[in-house]
Symmetry: C3
Subunit: 346 residues, 3 copies
């Protein structure tokens, strides 16, 4: 892999939600600056190929599929789902050795299709465990996709420093100023950084307080974010009016995953999945909840993150001498760890 890569290459990134990929269509996405065509074989297995015919460089997603094979629209070369050319209709039909496209290893787990773009052998252990997302009633799971005109690290910054919820978002997810002054507990391990906040607020956060004994009473709350390389942040948040532990077993709350895949250095694919532990069978509530979350990203986080990208003009974050504060502890650790991992990939 080129040492100048700006991304961590040997890692699992999300390529799509499982439900974004239907049985027949060719899905085209640019991931880490590379065009990829993704589809399901007839048995439902997802496949990702380099989206460029090696002959005349036509994106293969402009072609058509025949069974599990793709046919280039320009001169009819066929490729199977390993990327091998299986038919050259020209001349004697000889298939040149170089007539192949790269196939990217995929894994479909937790409602996502994960892709390995690097040159090293895929390491299944690097795909983190987000099993709780898919464990339970379907109406307690929400998923959404957003495209942002911003570098992926700005999106990670946003989630790793949750103090912004008191300033950027509307009352619905506000801590009423209680979280902002807290200095979170930050723990760094190999390839992961976590931060945790605990506080009391009156009333509890509006997204939870109707499920608590007294919607107007003081509430104990926690939120924990766990970043794992390359760009996954698992977030758990909960509220209780009892004296039990601050965890999802004892609280009204939700288990979320924020995951980002660089499209280019300045644009990103951003997915969010959430499983709540209350009102789990209510489809209507589920739809309204994920729509509200999507709206918050698109109308509140998105414009600010994109404005920062514009203002930074492509410069490296630390080169602009940001004034860092206590709330930056977690995102700055992620940035430093990620830089080290990218530098180490050689």
């Amino acid at each position: 892999m080129p040492s100048e890569s700006v991304f961590l290459e040997n890692a699992w990134y999300v390529a799509a939600l499982s439900r974004e990929l239907n049985a027949t269509d060719l899905l085209h996405r640019t991931l880490l600056n590379k065009g990829v065509v993704i589809y399901r074989t007839q048995d439902g297995t997802p496949v990702a190929l380099q989206d460029r015919c090696p002959h005349r460089f036509v994106p293969l997603h402009l072609g058509r599929r025949d069974g599990d094979e793709l046919i280039c629209p320009y001169h009819g070369l066929r490729f199977d789902c390993t990327g091998a050319c299986t038919q050259n209709p020209h001349g004697g039909g000889h298939i040149p050795k170089a007539a192949k496209v790269r196939a990217y290893p995929l894994q479909e787990r937790y409602g996502f299709i994960w892709i390995w773009m690097g040159d090293a052998t895929p390491d299944a252990d690097l795909l983190h465990d987000y099993a709780p997302l898919v464990d339970g009633h379907e109406n307690a799971l929400g998923q959404t996709y957003m495209h942002l005109k911003a570098n992926y690290e700005l999106i990670i910054d946003n989630v790793m420093d949750l103090s912004h919820v008191d300033h950027l978002h509307s009352e619905i997810i506000s801590t009423r100023g209680q979280l902002t002054p807290l200095i979170p507990q930050v723990v760094e391990n190999a390839g992961s950084v976590s931060a945790r906040w605990e506080w009391r607020q009156t009333p509890g956060m509006l997204i939870f307080n109707n499920f608590l004994p007294d919607p107007q009473a003081e509430t104990r709350m926690f939120v924990q974010v766990n970043w794992a390389s390359p760009a996954n942040i698992q977030l758990s948040i909960g509220a209780t009016q009892g004296n039990g532990p601050l965890d999802l077993d004892a609280c009204i709350g939700q288990y979320d995953l924020h995951t980002v895949t660089p499209e280019t250095a300045t644009t990103s694919h951003y997915w969010f999945a959430t499983r709540r532990n209350h009102l789990v069978e209510d489809a209507e509530f589920n739809a309204a909840k994920i729509q509200a979350m999507h709206g918050a990203f698109v109308n509140e986080d998105g414009p600010i993150i994109e404005a920062v990208e514009q203002e930074m003009g492509g410069a490296e974050f630390f080169s602009l001498s940001p004034v860092l504060m206590s709330n930056d502890a977690a995102p700055v650790r992620v940035r430093r760890l990620l830089r080290q991992m990218i530098a180490a990939q050689g």
Copy 2:
């Protein structure tokens, strides 16, 4: 200041018309490649701050004001109108020394808000006197703003060589070919260049001849342009059918200011203000007149100046070996003087 700056930095530029800045809103403009947020304090004083929070680089105009302070929308840092951070709601509330934004000195005069972007101490003497603009009845003053996709020097060129009025503009401000062959008197001083034309035409210029004794008769006319650094051109123009001196006291005429502020190297803010000495109380005439002037800029000068910018493709003017003629004497002197002043700023 970086020696590579393409602009004269230590100078007063217009940031806005006074009336563009109301009592409450945050006005955002890019001036000399820098984002600036401009607003009025509660006592009406205009303030200009660097439009970038030093923490995470969010443009502050996306935030909100509380009294005379601005609050960053992302994490709630507050800045007063000197650019000092007055509140950090995070952790112990410690305000890092570097947590400040640059405040740009302003002066509000002659209906404009003037800004000093350079690093040197602002020099009040460098703000030229355009007092006649605001001396008299309000209905004799017109003001307008235009945005042009062209380097600011192309706009200066346009006004310093008025021979274009016979070719580019409609009959209303034509000299009927009388000005074009004239070689203007050009005077150069430190930081200023002026040019003056005097001629006779029959009838007089249409914008004036209804105010002369005989609208169809021969008329004596003059126009004088006075460029003063960095990008101000005061223009006086008048017409008479008497034998008096060719000046605004003795003629039907107007006292104008053209002033340009670079937005970037290829885009400009352009303001025009005009005070006439006839029909001074007529609000309806005043509105129609400034609308006509605005239309001439937008429909006649603007497209040509923008086409030149496109055609030059960002090249330096003299590097393209323009064929210079007698009518270029004044604009070329301005270009050379401006180059010297920019080079001298170190």
Copy 3:
């Protein structure tokens, strides 16, 4: 001429269809990265001038014509159809020696206006003979123009390798797979490359089979493409159910010219002209036929060629290591010959 030019400069390129240039208007086109204004003098002769006033760089097509002269809209300089300045209305009227614009030699032949952009003396012998286009009934001639966001060599590639018709196009011009496996006869000469395919198909190509004795029967067909520098491809295609020779005299067929002029390195002007040898007086059929051809270019070839340009991202074709096959013999020879000719122009 600068040795770094990416185009063959001393050559005849199409600037316009004759019918694109009416008696009065100024036509503006960028050809080989240079702005050109084209018009007809009062006697109908086409003229092409550099589209930039040498004074202040205004595109002359924004001005107006007076007789056979162009007048710059900004300061009134006049230029005749040789590019000489004939009037300077400023000062004493002196015309600076450098006040001229380049005039580009033109020839109007075969329904096209051809332009010579290079610095060498125009060589009339380099204008190839496409007389058959204009020899015959006007209702047997169709002409069309397209603008493509792609390098011109990608368009040449497309026509020099006709195997794509079986894959990219609808049934109307399909050979039903018969042409694809053929290895064409390729002949290379100085400044030209030709390729020829001959085959049998049942039924014949749909654009021809209604004019054959038995529309459903086996048909003998041929197609020949003759590339001549810089970017002209004459294509003859025909069908017969007899035993005669495979040429246009003995077949139902058509004589076409594809010709491309680079606008920039990544955009092209593309013209197509076709003369058929059947139903030659039918104006309605003629209109429908050229409309169908135009539709095939715009809806089928165009999107693929533009997608390839995007995917190549401006890289040189061979630098991307294309997997070449038997069907690439002709286009690759053209690319190599063109590279040699461009390198040789010094």
